[in-house]
């Protein structure tokens, strides 16, 4: 799996270059296609939803629209965000519906080329593996491409 990129099913449909909006989560760099990203928000108050799946952090008020917030750390099986640190909210729009992802901090928009792409590293564990399309080998840094559709489908 870790060899030829053509063996990865997701690679077929990929354009040669694309732009990823990147963010940090538990020390790793992730990216989502920039066209999915609607906006990035800080210090949003989140209304928790009792009995919701653990990855659902709650609901936020996005200018009058109620949007579900997904805790990406929980979704990717990472440890909970340290107390006292505030999450950044990335609002993505999928199939006309807005959903938001909670991440640690936002980073740049990065141009990536398909030649740098590789299938998910074998070291990636189960739950995260489902949600990661693969990795772009940037200079000195791996950028994990998040499958947004799967990430929000709790």
């Amino acid at each position: 799996m870790s060899t030829a990129l053509s063996s990865h099913p997701a690679a077929h449909a990929m354009p040669a270059t694309s732009q990823l909006a990147t963010f940090w989560l538990d020390g790793a760099l992730y990216g989502v296609e920039v066209e999915h990203v609607q906006e990035v928000l800080r210090s949003q108050s989140i209304t928790r939803v009792p009995l919701a799946p653990p990855a659902v952090a709650g609901l936020i008020n996005l200018r009058g629209q109620v949007v579900t917030a997904i805790e990406l750390r929980e979704r990717l099986g990472r440890p909970a965000r340290p107390a006292g640190t505030e999450a950044v909210v990335i609002v993505v729009r999928l199939h006309g519906e807005a959903v938001s992802l909670l991440v640690d901090s936002i980073a740049d928009v990065v141009d990536v080329h398909v030649r740098d792409f590789e299938a998910p590293p074998d070291t990636l564990d189960g739950s995260a593996r489902e949600l990661i399309r693969g990795a772009y080998k940037l200079d000195g840094q791996l950028l994990l491409a998040l499958d947004v559709n799967r990430a929000v489908g709790t």
């Binding site: 939803v49 009995l51 659902v56 609901l59 936020i60 008020n61 009058g64």
Partner: protein, 790 residues
Amino acid sequence: MEGLDDIVEEFLVESHENLDQLDQDLVALEQDPRSRDRLSSIFRTIHTIKGTSGFLAFNRLEEVAHVGENMLSRLRDGALELTPHRTSALLEMVDCVRALLASIEANGGEGGVDVAPAVAVLSAALEDVPAPVTPEPAAARTTFLPTADALVAELPVLPAPVLDVPAVALPAAAAPAEVPVEVPGEVPMETPAAPAAEPALPEVDAEGKGQQPGRRAVADSTIRVDVNLLDALMLLVGELVLTRNQIVQYVGRQTDQDLVRASQRLNLIASELQEGVMKTRMQPIDHIWSKLPRVVRDLGLQCGKNVRLEMEGRETELDKTLLEAVKDPLTHLVRNSVDHGVEASPARVAAGKPAEGVLTLRARHESGQVVVEVADDGAGIDPAKVGAKAVERGLLTADALSRMSPTDILQLIFLPGFSTAAAVTNVSGRGVGMDVVKTNIESIGGTIEVESVPGRGTCTRLRIPLTLAIVPALTIECAGDRYAIPQISLQELVALDAEKAAAAVEEVGGASVYRLRGELLPLVRLADVLGLPSDRHDGHVVIAVLRSEGRRFGLVVDRVINTEEIVVKAVGGQMKAIGLYSGATVLGDGAVALILDVQALARRALRPETAERQESRKNVTAAAASTERQRMLLAAIGGGRRVAIPLDTVTRLEQVRSETVERVGSREVVQYRGAILPIVRLDRHLGAFGGGEREVLEVIVYADHGRSVAIVVEEILDIVDGEANVHSDIDDLGLLGSTVIGDRVTELLDVRAAILAADPAFYSPSAGTAPAGLSPAFAFDGAPSPFSKV
């Protein structure tokens, strides 16, 4: 406008709009005679008018439109060239159609409008016969003054004059239509003046304006608006309402008088705007009622019944979306009433009722809801039959049934798989229907209930919210979060201080109940349901009494905040799947609050927590579907022995002070709520002598048919799901056997024997034969025993 029915009115509005478009299209077509799009559009318009007028039997309108259509179709196919002459003929046709429509609008018929000239001109133009040489156009000329102009204009077929023609041809078209109109009333009004004053160059606009006031009563009073636009407006108003709430809340803390006044005005205006925008989506219920007379008539014939349909409050309005949602359930109820409710004429006469049955539909606004009733004066529903049927279908135990009030029994018809129809008819009686009606009504946040007086009739009542988008709600707090409860489910609020709460809220095993005016109200702690720690530690209890599916329960919340109008926002599928929230809303301060789904809450919480007979009704479905599990009340009777008592035989749990126990003959009784309650001490009854006399006796009250007995136990332990199968059959007095519950051997009480020990006459049909003092009607004051209502 009276006498015009809906279809005609719609036809008029639509046609007027189309004709305006047609004028423009025709003129534009002259500039660009090859535009197939325009031709097609014109053709469609005329075709529609022709079709509809044929359907509505406006024959002259149909005739003129037909000829016009003929020409248009040939123009469209390229068989004919569009000449100014033909354009004029078409415009004449349009005016003729206008005149006919005006006549229809004014007096409901085509009146004296003469279509022959227009038809003649069209036919002539169609045949390409030079109009002047045929007699018909000549006839036309007598009536249509400027026809000659049009004919003159027709002669040069050069493009240049064509451009000029409209100015000349238009008055030709404008005037003639008015002249032959002999419609009485205001219809032609000022129009003759216009061409007269400016015969040379009346413009399309001037002509249009001159005619409008008289003839557009229908068309001008309405405007078509895209529903999406209304939805968008509604959303914006929702936002405005929220912002208003926010500002009003904020200003409430301010002292600036001007600001306070301004915010009050904002408050008022926002409310009015909200109401106004909501009204744009409102439609009279008559829209769905209007189809029902036919349904009733046909069904009456089919069933051989004579039924008259009466409607009250047909102008009552509700949201278009809701109207659509109510349509099918309502039709179903009406069919049900005709099929099952109203009797056949002979039976009615025999019962001393008029041969003709009356089915009444009523609609009215009531405290922010729309109440719709379907009432018949038929045979009514007999609760006894309903009850028997429910038991026969295994939906309910006979025992549980015996403790239900007739009103509650009637609601059983909404259970899935219930049908009282003696025979399965073509119309109804397959046992599906009422439950579907109920589901549909609930899906739009409404409620349904049925009332019936045997022999007098049945009334089914729907309560529907006015609109789905904005609902009045109660906001409450629980574990530091706020939630909204739609007011439609809310009955009352009860606040108990710590002292009162300690006494009034009773715990039965894990289940707590509150005595609300003598009735046991099962309590559901919201914090427990949500799995959160309540932050109310001072012992105060706030209960929101909610009603769902005919069951009442108390939701214990931390505190009540406010009642406010909330805007319902959809939540994602994941939230819906939790099954506790019907949506979310944004509160005045911008925070998101979840809207509790009361129905789901009841379904979820009442199963494991209630100690009331409602449980037995809940079990109605459970019992039918799954294994035979019974809920048991566990009690200690002393000497380490435990008995299990089927919960559906428990009406109430009470505590009785031992000094209040009196003796009548050899039996013990206690005065309780103005009645005498015979007592059986379970320890003695079962031969388990435990500790000595206690100060307070734990009592299980069992009531049936207005009679009650009290069963004294040492301690009430728990409520458990016990399997009804008995593991060992101990042949002992007063026991049915024993089973293992929670790792301990537990005896199953023979409730019947225990009751008979307390009141030997309990099950006897005639109370009079029972020993004095123990028996007859327990109520001293003649009022029915409170237990029977529980």
